[in-house]
């Protein structure tokens, strides 16, 4: 506007010129922005967008030309200057429109990336959740069917005991179903649930199976992911009962060390005949994996063999 004024046009002409020019430019920019908001070009369609930007700039300049001419065609002087300024107007229009488009595009890309990242994180969380659920709910069908068979046997001879076992099995199953990994339990709650399992196994195996649980009072209030001990005890029972002929005692102890809860589970086994493949079975691996997913540490499950005793220790870091 100032330029026009100084070139010798009166304020009115200069004002009209800049008003029309800038209004058209603003409209074009708005249009480009709106278009790119809904549509992000990829490499293939990019040239179309470039083309349309060029066209738009041209139309802008041309329209300015036409509109102003219809109003100010009497100003001969102006017309001649305007003709000369057409290229400059076109250049400026192109620059401004392209710039708007570029800003819009970068903004879009950043937004999209942010969205992608959020989605990716969501997906990862879901996978992790699913994995944790999967690792938790490895209820052994073997256990279930054999328990039902025991109940079937009791139903004939000792209906009262059958009923009691149905109760225990139901309580156990319910406990297995509703546990949520984000909710840590106290060791006491976990052991109570485990007790249901042990009671059922004791009915199945009779006098062959006994347990010896020795926990320190303070450790009972420590926190532990739900159903973590279950697969380890399952393993211990399996090895204890299937690797030896005699009676089997499963020992469970707990203590606190450096703000970590340590739970050890041990069972007798026969080092000579035990099948090594089963030794590092799925049960322990799933416990290890779970602890890794929860605490990002790989050193929380330890096993050792001392004479004929197989001991598994799990370490659960406590939040302060």
């Amino acid at each position: 506007m100032l330029v026009f004024h100084q070139l010798g046009f009166d304020w009115q002409v200069a004002f009209a010129d800049s008003l029309v020019n800038n209004a058209l430019l603003a409209a074009a920019c708005y249009g480009v922005g709106a278009m790119l908001r809904w549509y992000t070009p990829d490499r293939k369609t990019g040239y179309k967008v470039m083309g349309s930007l060029l066209g738009l700039a041209f139309i802008c300049a041309k329209l300015t030309n036409i509109i102003l001419f219809s109003f100010l065609n009497k100003e001969v002087n102006y017309v001649s200057v305007f003709d000369k300024s057409f290229l400059i107007r076109f250049g400026i229009a192109l620059l401004v429109i392209t710039w708007t488009a570029a800003v819009r595009w970068i903004f879009n890309a950043a937004n999209q990336q942010k969205e992608n990242e959020a989605r990716k994180a969501d997906a990862e969380n879901l996978v992790r959740e699913a994995e944790l659920t999967g690792l938790r709910q490895q209820l052994q069908p073997h256990f279930l069917f054999n328990s039902l068979n025991s109940i079937s046997a009791l139903a004939g001879s000792k209906p009262e005991e059958a009923r009691k076992m149905i109760q225990q099995l139901s309580d156990f199953l319910r406990g297995t179903l509703k546990k949520d990994d984000n909710q840590m339990l106290t060791l006491e709650e976990e052991l109570n649930h485990l007790q249901l399992y042990l009671d059922i196994e004791k009915v199945r195996f009779g006098h062959r199976l006994s347990t010896d649980i020795d926990t320190s009072e303070e450790s009972l209030h420590m926190l532990i992911p739900p159903l973590l001990l279950q697969p380890i005890v399952e393993n211990a029972i399996k090895f204890g009962l299937y690797d030896t002929i005699g009676n089997v005692t499963i020992q469970i102890t707990s203590k606190i060390e450096n703000n970590h809860l340590l739970v050890t589970i041990s069972n007798p086994f026969d080092a000579e005949t035990s099948q090594p493949v089963q030794g590092t079975g799925f049960g322990l691996k799933s416990v290890q994996r779970r602890l890794y997913l929860l605490f990002f540490r790989n050193d929380l499950v330890k096993t050792e063999i001392h004479q004929n005793l197989y001991t598994t220790t799990v370490i659960i870091p406590q939040k302060i």
Binding site: S150, R204, L241, Y242, T244, T273
Partner: protein, 247 residues
């Protein structure tokens, strides 16, 4: 009287079989066993017509127990295992009962047995049954053998070599050998092929036991084992051994 033996490590599982048998007055339970060792002894002692057999039991499985039984016996499996083998058994075991099973299902199994034994006194072929189980040979990590009255579990890593011996094979370990009624090709298939190589029609050798391969003359080699034993290698056996050793 029809004689039977119940072999299951869970007392309640045995008691339900006994209970279902009560109405079959022609069947007598000779003994209840809680593991495979007792099972083998009871079968030798009582020569039962039928055994009710669980699969997962202490020390040795139901399958492994059957391998140790010389006299043919009809088998009805009672198990919660509904995995791989079951289908293969259908043909040869009298029946298999998936726990928990109903009295009707149990009676049906017995009826099946009676039908099979109504006419000819045909005893089922336990060997055929077992061969069938190993149609898709599962990789073995131990072998169960019987020397006289002793049952021994040999981890495969302890096997030095296996030698053909008529209908049997001799399984050599540091403690000498044990006999087992199995074919060479059975072991060839069920042992880890990278660890055990059939080097000769009559020999399978654990590769780690070999210290040296010597050439006797052109195209004739022997393998020297750590124990000093010399094993002849056939031409194809020598080639196979070289591949496994990466020579």
């Amino acid at each position: 009287m029809i004689k039977c033996v119940i072999i299951d490590d869970e007392p309640l599982a045995r008691s339900i079989v006994k209970e279902y048998l009560q109405e079959h007055t022609d069947i007598e339970v000779m003994q209840e066993c809680s593991d495979g060792f007792e099972g083998v002894k009871a079968i030798m002692q009582h020569k039962p017509d039928i055994i009710f057999l669980d699969i997962q039991m202490p020390k040795i499985t139901g399958f492994e127990m059957l391998e140790l039984v010389d006299s043919p016996v009809s088998v009805i499996f009672t198990t919660a295992f509904d995995e791989y083998a079951i289908k293969a058994f259908e043909a040869h075991a009298i029946d298999y009962l998936l726990k928990p099973f109903s009295k009707e299902r149990f009676n049906k199994a017995l009826k099946k047995w009676k039908e099979q034994h109504a006419g000819a006194e045909t005893k089922p072929d336990t060997n055929a049954l077992l061969e069938n189980t190993h149609k898709q040979p599962e990789e073995q990590n131990r072998v169960v053998v019987k020397n006289g009255n002793n049952i021994k579990i040999i981890p495969v890593n302890d096997i030095h070599y296996i030698e053909a011996y008529d209908d049997y094979v001799k399984i050599f370990t540091k403690d000498g050998y044990s006999l087992k009624k199995k074919t060479m090709s059975y072991f060839e298939q069920s042992l880890n092929a990278d660890q055990f190589v059939r080097v000769h029609r009559s020999y399978i050798v654990q590769v780690q036991q070999i210290t040296k391969i010597e050439m006797l003359e052109k195209d004739s080699h022997i393998a020297l084992l750590k124990t000093g034993v010399k094993i002849p290698l056939s031409k194809t056996g020598y080639a196979k051994l070289k591949t496994v050793l990466g020579l």
